[in-house]
Symmetry: C2
Subunit: 415 residues, 2 copies
């Protein structure tokens, strides 16, 4: 087994070849890997079965076992994901805003790969193929550290990818898997800034926090979403109910789901009963502040810690406010910088909300569930960044690239 | 004295007001601060004298005392810097690429401040005014931690800035100085990710390394420059000598100065004696490999550790290669990702060098000394990023901004 240090070194060594790969060759390789995964279905399923059995024996929760488990359809889905990535435009090599300076230097910014990307994720083997595809398309070498519960599945998938690359005379080290699951190994990986240019944790809040606190490699934080919908006094209340129902219940365990309703006191009497009726269809538990409970006396009391919670469950907190200023202050205090929406028909309030809410995505009159690389038209998604550096919001292929200045001169020296 | 925690909180609270400040108001404030610094010259000089005397008494090196010392001209320079920043275009608020999606959602990216910027720097009081100016122009609240040797000077400058802002009814907390110089305080500051959005260390390699290893706040690394010039076999040798002389000697202690010459073996006999003659004007010490010493037998031997050194001194190492491939491999192995140049008249080699060198700025036939925010036409410079995330190369005002998605809908929900 290679040490983490050796893996980092190999990735760095692979990078110059990957930078030079033409788009056409990368596209061909992604299609071949998709094919090879389908052909290798039996092998992958056998490896996955070992993981699933071991996980069940250890008493893993059903929801997590479901994320770990593969079947023919899911493997076909992985292959289809790679085909879609193959079809996207390759961002590498484009030169942006090349302009001459007064001294004749011609300066432009060329889009290039980040270099070596590290991805730490939980026991979801589909991330393995997906992360490879996105990194490979953008000319990056990727080092994967998947959850140990998926070790066999990830091993089988990475083996197939590497064999396919080798057949095409492309460096296998475009993708490497850290197979050593010791805690110290992962710690070591997070300190490998000599070789790794960026580290992306994909998973729950705990994993992300650990990576942010430990890593000396720059981290792109993909994060939790405590998303609010604010229903303003001029809102179309039917629209508001539709949007809240969609944002709360269309999918529960996702970061762009709505976790908290903020409602103007002037519309609470009209909105809350209608909303409750709709949310009752899905047995959504409501937790309201005092003013909300005047309208819906039977719901639970919201506690202070409800305002900051990402439930990822059929629960919605309700905060009543007396002005848009109070709504904005409340949201900016408790949100996680993900997605926030206002439902309003007031022009000034819409603009104010867009201007003053501090989040990756701010909506007027739409569901927060749209914060997603595919919905935004990027054709792929690495994750949704809730930090402000490098990338914010849904990240497409561009988030896996950087630029370098290229400068054409003819003998210029600095005076 | 406020705790670091309280300072962070105050900065965060100031931010909503700063986001809303109109360009015109920011411009006015910057001009008023410039004026106030000039008016306060005596106060600043008295504070600075205390710092300088204390530093001398502690035996601070002359070069460092020089960087610490202020005089009327230097304060005028600080004010002029603020006036220049005032005159730049305000990047905040621009909406980029707003486009409709098939479902009618109109999605655009709005340029916004990063939020709260932390800057850790050494005993250079001019950075205090400059960092404030750049952050204020881009709507950010800034928390400054200057070198303790400049504590009085920084205190005087920040006091003047804060008083000027207060007179204009702008929140003073746009700029705060951490006055507690205890080691634990700085450590605490670097972990303040709850309030601070980005931390920028400005100073030597040691400071930067400490910040990268300690901070849980995202860091923009501004860094060391081990810059190379490669003289290819088809180079115009007179141009090569001019560029090497300029890049090595025009200013010694800067990160974009040339530290190492890489020369093709076919031109070493013609280049090296002419180059030595020119560099002798400035008593530059040469350290060559074996092949270089065949031409210049009297120069020192280059040791393995010379290749990775940023001398910041009148020293140049010389590495001989037999191909452009070898030159690129050598440079990519030892460079620090700053600025690299090729001198050539070969079209294919020029393109190859631009494509394959991994650095923030890659030059053909020009001096590496041009890597600079002003030379690149940004009108300001926060530093030169040698990392790949968020900003790479000279950073202008844009590096202190991020974007958020703004989305106009009319009731859209996700299917």
């Amino acid at each position: 087994m290679l040490s983490v240090e050796e893996i980092g070194k190999k990735a760095k060594e692979a990078e110059p070849e990957l930078v030079r790969l033409m788009s056409g060759k990368k596209e061909e390789a992604l299609l071949k890997v998709a094919e090879a995964l389908i052909e290798g279905t039996q092998t992958i399923l056998e490896a996955n079965e070992k993981d699933v059995e071991a996980a069940k024996a250890r008493g893993m929760k059903e929801g997590l076992v479901d994320r770990l488990m593969l079947n023919e359809k899911r493997i076909a889905g992985m292959a289809e994901g790679l085909r879609q990535i193959a079809g996207l435009e390759d961002p590498i090599g484009e030169v942006l805003s090349m302009k001459p300076r007064p001294n004749g230097l011609l300066i432009g910014q060329k889009r290039v790969p980040l270099g070596v990307v590290g991805i730490i994720y939980e026991a979801r083997p589909n991330v393995t193929a997906d992360a490879f595809g996105l990194c490979f398309k953008t000319g990056n070498a990727v080092i994967l550290k998947g959850g140990s519960d998926a070790a066999n599945s990830n091993g089988a998938i990475v083996k197939i990818i590497r064999e396919t690359l080798a057949k095409l005379q492309i460096t296998e080290d475009a993708v490497q898997l850290i197979e050593d699951n010791k805690r110290e190994t992962v710690q070591q990986f997070m300190k490998l800034d000599q070789y790794v240019d960026v580290l992306i944790p994909r998973g729950g809040a705990g994993l992300i926090r650990t990576v942010v606190q430990t890593s000396t490699i720059p981290v792109i934080e993909t994060g939790t979403g405590n998303c609010h919908i604010y229903v303003d006094e001029t809102a179309d209340l039917e629209m508001a109910v539709n949007i809240i129902f969609n944002a709360k219940t269309q999918r529960i365990g996702v970061c762009n789901a709505c976790e908290s309703l903020v409602v103007h006191e002037k519309v609470k009497d009209a909105l809350l009963p209608a909303m409750k009726k709709r949310l009752d269809e899905k047995q959504v538990e409501l937790r309201g502040d005092k003013a909300a409970k005047e309208v819906l006396p039977d719901i639970k009391d919201a506690q202070e810690d409800d305002w900051g919670r990402e439930y990822l469950d059929y629960i919605l907190s309700i905060k009543t406010v007396s002005s848009i200023e109070e709504a904005i202050e409340h949201i900016n205090r408790y949100n996680t910088g993900h997605s926030e929406a206002i439902i309003t028909n007031d022009y000034t309030h819409a603009q104010k909300f867009l201007n003053e809410i501090d989040a990756a995505a701010v909506y007027v009159n739409a569901s927060t569930r749209f914060t997603d690389g595919f919905e935004f038209g990027f054709g792929a998604e690495i994750g949704i960044s809730t930090q402000k550096l490098h990338a914010r919001g849904p990240m497409g292929l561009l988030a896996l690239t950087t630029t370098k200045y290229i400068i054409y001169g003819n003998g210029q020296i600095r005076k």
